[in-house]
Amino acid sequence: MIAFWQWIHALIPWFDGAIATIVIILIKAIALVMPLMLVVAYFTYAERKVIGYMQLRVGPNRVGPKGWLQPIADALKLMTKEIIFPSKANIYLFLLAPVLAIAPAIAIWAVIPFDEGMYVANLDISLLYVLAIGSVGVYGIILAGWASNSKYPLLGALRSASLLVSYEIVIGFALVTVVMIAGSVNLNDIVMAQKGSILNWYWIPLFPMMIIFFISALVETNRAPFDVVEGESEIVGGTHVEYSGMTFAVFFLAEYANMIFMAVLAVILFFGGWHSPFEGIAYLEAGFAWVPGIIWLLAKSTFFMFLYLWIRATFPRFRYDQIMRLSWKVFLPWTIVWIFVVALMTQLKIGPWF
């Protein structure tokens, strides 16, 4: 790699320092965002197919072979549709909202380590970065609800704001336990700390936190059974009511990018990131050594993404005060108790993981 850069440097002498860094980061960002958008597109296809088969239907099967071009067709349709502005809406805020939703949803991926050394940025405070950027995303939804100047979106925005306040705290506390065990807020270090064997992954010592984290992730991404912000049958589409065409598509992309992000984050925090599940097992480890880490990461994330769909097909929707109760009266006490348990165990060196 160093030889490559020296070669480039010899070829173009001014390609150095700040310019080089910017170009490299740009290339990395594009290499990250393009596949991400593709995954988002095909995640919607997977969602429709999986839920379709769960509901005795076949899902999309008309556009292209087995319906594989359906997401492309959807994207084309949304791009060519007219964007309608509600007559008394604040147009600047109305257009700012989708931007505010998608920007953090993409920026948050910068710190995700996909494999050893495969990341856009290796921040020392990457977990804090995730929390900070993740909570910016909700501004998009709240602004959308406010700027639409419509009643259903406003209700959606109110619900969204109250849910965010409750569940950021829960997620924050759940992450504190991970940080305490790993001894670092760097995602890279957290994954490295889980190295060695499947037994070293944090889902065993932090099992309740893992469950709470995943459920909170459902709430944060407005997925069923916590999709009260959209609430199809109650507030029709919540904040999306007045959005059409590309403005709606951007919200949609942001929502799905967030879902995939939460699945990947769950894997990184609790399921050993890019580590192979066969590590430490005599023959299997050598046998699967050729599999690159990113494949393991994606395979494990796929399971969580499937869980999203499975849960959506199974459960009725919560009422929003019930979600709040779940947060404040169930999850919050659990996480606080577990923080004390983990703190004690790490201090007294009890158990094999600490």
Binding site: V236, F315, P316
Partner: protein, 417 residues
């Protein structure tokens, strides 16, 4: 100081949970309902007035379109009103066929209710599972009347024709492999009765599936228990009938209390709720589906043993058969008279009510002796239920309004008429 007003929300008529065209003006304080004001009339088609200008038989089709998810039950009430006025004897076999299709209709209606109620509360899959079973019953409608929804199968004096000896089968097409076709047609080899018999055997398994999916689901319970409570006394005062009344603990069912057709010869139970909340009504309707299944089974057994006529022999009311018409002058005249002028009812009035899937469905009919009714008044159960919307929804949250609409099992065809 500025005046503080509640948020008014126009819920419908274009709303996914409006069950058609309900327009609900909600006054909400945050998310808590202060007042719910249902506006009706968006599906008014003037059925009652239209019936006044037509011979009696031509209005049967309008009855299908009242509560368009329980078609044959509507017909039953209307046809029975005419039969009562004429003091017409209906053959036993026709009565059994009617009861069997009434119960099939009850299952049809309750499956529709289950699916949409689930969808309102946010459970998507139950909707499609319910429609899987509904499809088979709709096929029974089609087999017997040629129409999948608006059957016009019941006629004064009996039913339009006897049950077909052969169940229609799926046909071959480009999208079906021969093996799939074989599986699809497996239970369609015999007569309609065989097909229904097969359904009756399989249906308890389906109900078990719905049960597994919802009944003990914690979220489902959180959303339904203690939502929209109506006490037994209040339910009576509000004019509730059917599962809405029984859910509140009143064992009132016209099939038991004022038996009509052959219900007095059949064995079935009336499920009753305790607290009168949405969850009780859910349980009541689920049990009613099981009971209907049981009734259908008894009807099948009787119908297998007792062939015979399904239409009255009084050709002043019921048309003669097609073959007789070809070479019998008398029959031809009867046919001509019946399908042009119709028949006249004696002067007087009648109220005939049946236990419709949604409650007491009544036809109040006044005749001045002509071949058209002087007045037809339809008593739709849903109307009384919807009128209680404000009382049931007050103090609950916005999401609960949707649950309450679902538990009331509202269909606008009958409310707006």
């Amino acid at each position: 100081m500025a005046e503080i007003r509640n948020y008014t929300l126009n819920f419908g008529p274009q709303h996914p949970a409006a069950h058609g065209v309900l327009r609900l003006i909600l006054e909400i304080d945050g998310e808590v309902i202060e007042r719910a004001d249902p506006h009706i009339g968006l599906l008014h088609r003037g059925t009652e007035k239209l019936a006044e200008s037509k011979p009696y038989n031509q209005s049967i089709g309008y009855m299908d379109r009242l509560d368009y998810v329980s078609m044959m039950c509507n017909e039953h009430a209307y046809v029975r009103a005419i039969e009562t006025m004429l003091e017409l004897e209906v053959p036993q076999r026709a009565q059994y066929i009617r009861v069997m299709f009434d119960e099939i209709t009850r299952i049809l209606n309750h499956l529709m209710w289950l699916g949409t109620h689930g969808l309102d509360v946010g459970a998507m899959s139950i909707f499609l599972y319910a429609f899987r079973e509904r499809e088979k019953l709709i096929d029974c409608y089609e087999a017997v009347s040629g129409s999948r929804m608006h059957a016009t199968y019941y006629r004064p004096g009996g039913v339009y024709r006897d049950l077909p000896e052969k169940m229609p089968q799926y046909l071959k097409n480009d999208f079906r492999k021969p093996k799939e076709l074989e599986v699809m047609n497996k239970n369609r080899q015999g007569s309609l009765l065989d097909f229904i018999d097969d359904f009756v055997k399989e249906f308890p398994k389906s109900i078990k599936q719905y049960d597994d999916l919802l009944t003990d689901n914690r979220i489902w319970k959180q959303r339904l228990v203690n939502i929209g409570i109506v006490s037994a006394n209040r339910a009576k005062q509000l004019g509730f009938t059917g599962p809405m009344l029984r859910g509140s603990g009143v064992a009132w069912d016209l099939r038991k209390n004022q038996p009509y057709a052959v219900y007095d010869k059949l064995e079935f139970d009336i499920p009753v709720g305790v607290t009168g909340d949405s969850y009780d009504r859910y349980l009541v309707r689920m049990e009613e589906m099981r009971q209907s299944n049981h009734i259908i089974k008894q009807c099948i057994d009787w119908l297998r043993l007792n062939p015979g006529s399904v239409m009255s022999n009084d050709h002043k009311v019921a048309p003669p058969n097609r073959e007789a018409m070809k070479d019998d002058m008398e029959s031809l005249i009867h046919h001509f008279k019946l399908f042009t002028e119709g028949y006249c009812l004696p002067e007087g009035e009648v109220y005939s009510a049946i236990e419709h899937p949604k409650g007491e469905f009544g036809i109040y009919l006044i005749s001045d002796g002509a071949n058209k009714p002087y007045r037809v008044k339809i008593r739709a159960p849903g109307f009384a239920h919807l009128a209680a919307m404000d009382e049931m929804a007050k103090g609950h949250m916005l999401s609960d309004v949707v649950t309450i609409i679902g538990t009331q099992d509202i269909v606008f065809g009958e409310i707006d008429r």
